[in-house]
């Protein structure tokens, strides 16, 4: 019998949807007699408690503090919970906020720790997590011998968000003292998309590093236009300023939410890029490298030169 804790996160007072994915991850290894608590730090945590009271959650721990993201504060909350409740497992979504606080919280408390976990299971009672390695080319099963508490961050968009009405009791927890070293000064919204709508596009032609040079980009804009597709790109293309950020598909860019056909040319398929498109039903990958990880999620693959394929393709539209 032990306690499992999920650290739910909010941004500007709004619950991060991935918090419910963390609940699913935690629930998957809950054993008979275990309790599952979800902690939320916010200016008005009670307002978020209802959404967190999903099936399988026994307790929502409401910490009334601030909506500002303060890693020092979350770390103090983790430290207090480890001390008071000695949980066997803590799970939080592998978003940018967790990148700031999870490693610090883990090492300060001597926890077992792994990030970006894709799957969780019990083997003879032991917790076993799976994560990827070598740029997603291998998987590894890992465990945490001798660790009383393990902190894991779960990859987002992998676990189904937990649903089903629960009946969690809500407990108030006083915000622990924390030496807060950061101060929120505002938001910078992504640049105006200028009519580019990746989330709303059903058909996306996407280009990656394989395009090699800025002067090669224009022909793909033209091809996309001719085919009735929206041109998307991977991160390096946007970082180089060859295409606006609004065209970037992936974790730090856009989610191809309505897409039914995604043609990826010269895109290797990093995990960050896949985050934004791997759910698409019809993915076609064109790449010179037959081992590129994009082929592992594609329905159709062409091992070949994106420029040759593109110029031939143009004749058909």
């Amino acid at each position: 019998m032990s306690e499992i804790i999920v650290i739910a996160l909010q941004r500007d007072g709004e619950l991060r949807a991935s918090s419910l994915e963390a609940v699913t991850a935690a629930r998957s290894v809950k054993q008979a007699g275990d309790t599952l608590g979800v902690v939320i730090v916010a200016a008005n945590p009670q307002a978020l408690a209802g959404a967190l009271s999903v099936e399988g959650v026994d307790e929502v721990i409401a910490v009334k503090a601030t909506d500002e993201f303060q890693p020092d504060l979350i770390e103090a909350v983790v430290t207090a919970l480890v001390k008071e409740r000695k949980p066997s497992l803590i799970v939080t979504p592998h978003g940018v906020d967790a990148w700031s606080f999870a490693p610090a919280a883990a090492i300060k408390n001597g926890l077992g720790f792994a990030t970006d976990v894709l799957a969780l299971r019990r083997e003879g009672g032991e917790l076993v997590a799976t994560r990827a390695g070598y740029a997603e080319k291998v998987l590894m099963d890992i465990d945490f011998p001798g660790k009383a508490t393990v902190l894991l961050t779960n990859r987002t968009n992998v676990f189904e968000p937990a649903a089903g009405q629960g009946s969690a009791k809500v407990t108030e927890m006083a915000a622990p003292a924390a030496d807060v070293a950061t101060k929120h000064e505002g938001w910078k919204q992504p640049a105006d998309a200028g009519g580019i709508d990746i989330p709303g596009s059903e058909f996306i032609l996407s280009i990656g590093r394989g395009v090699a040079d800025e002067s090669n980009v224009e022909q793909f804009l033209e091809l996309a236009d001719k085919m009735g597709a929206t041109l998307g790109c991977s991160r390096p293309i946007a970082d180089n300023g060859w295409l606006p950020k609004a065209r970037q598909v992936g974790q730090s860019g856009q989610l191809a939410a309505s897409c039914r056909l995604y043609v990826a040319m010269g895109v290797s398929g990093s995990v960050q890029h896949q985050w934004g498109m791997k759910h698409v039903e019809n993915i076609v990958a064109v790449n010179t490298d037959p081992e590129a990880s994009i082929f592992s999620i594609a329905r159709y693959g062409i091992v070949g030169d994106m420029f040759e394929i593109a110029s031939e393709l143009e004749n058909h539209f």
Binding site: P71, A106, I107, A181, D305
Partner: protein, 261 residues
């Protein structure tokens, strides 16, 4: 004034690879080593601060790795870092980000830098752990995935943006000294010049053991243990073969079918 930039030598896999006999890692022969992509940006950010200040800023790069990793360290030195520190001990073969953070905490004690910049993550395992774990040990202010930085050497605070999901950025101020993990795209990393590469060979590199830092093998135990490593079952794409013209014709057909054209 000093900026410490811990870097990592990452390994990428050859197209074909085999597992080690114990099944817990890839056979060393199939690994190709290089400086972590993210670290090009953290080194550049430190060099930009050094150059803007004109004088009085020292950029020290540190790596935890065996002889082999000297190449990655020299790459950073060739870009313009002043000197290097390399720490290794055979007991570190299974080190993870928390082990590396524990070593770096000792390096920070020794070097007393004013700022520490790491890459936001490594391009091989992507744990995004080392920098923020280091901050946790030091009790220093910290921010991850920094996409913009305004910092004057020696200042008591910095203004930064951290890149969040969906292209949103948060503007924040942070007390210094601080540990910042640096995101891709924050700057345009330079290539080392031929002159820089030559000079890098002459730059001083302190080679330290765990013992030199007052650490034992039990102080740097990783936070997880690998049971086994394996190639994932991959979905198989239906390959379209033939000449480029034939491949494109088939692709056009697929597009038209799915689009109902």
């Amino acid at each position: 004034m000093k900026i410490l930039v811990p870097v990592k030598q990452i390994a990428s896999l050859d197209d074909q690879f085999e597992m080690r006999d114990d099944g817990r890692d890839v056979d060393e022969d199939y690994l190709e080593k290089d400086l972590n992509e993210f670290d090009h940006f953290s080194v550049e950010e430190a060099l930009l601060i050094k150059e803007a200040a004109g004088d009085g800023v020292e950029v020290v790069v540190a790596i935890i790795g065996d002889d082999d990793s000297d190449d990655a360290l020299r790459t950073a030195l060739a870009k313009g870092a002043d000197r290097g520190i390399r720490v290794w001990d055979d007991s570190l073969a299974e080190a993870d980000g928390t082990s590396v953070a524990r070593i770096l905490a000792k390096v920070v004690e020794r070097e007393k830098p004013d700022m520490v910049f790491t890459g936001a993550q490594s391009s091989d395992f992507g744990s995004a752990t080392t920098g923020m774990a280091l901050a946790g040990l030091l009790g220093w202010p910290h921010a991850a995935v920094v996409s913009n930085l305004e910092y004057k050497p020696g200042a008591s605070s910095a203004k930064l943006r951290r890149e969040l999901e969906g292209g949103l950025e948060e503007i924040m101020t942070i007390r210094c000294p601080a540990v910042l993990s640096i995101q891709l795209g924050i700057n345009q990393p330079r290539y080392a010049s031929l002159r820089g590469i030559k000079q890098a060979k002459q730059k001083p590199v302190d080679e330290l053991s765990l013992d030199d830092l007052g650490l034992g093998a039990s102080d740097v135990e990783p936070a997880f243990h690998v049971r086994k490593m394996y190639a994932p079952e991959r979905g198989k794409a239906e390959l379209i073969t033939g000449s480029a013209a034939e491949q494109a014709a088939r692709l056009a057909q697929i597009i038209k079918e799915i689009r109902g054209m």
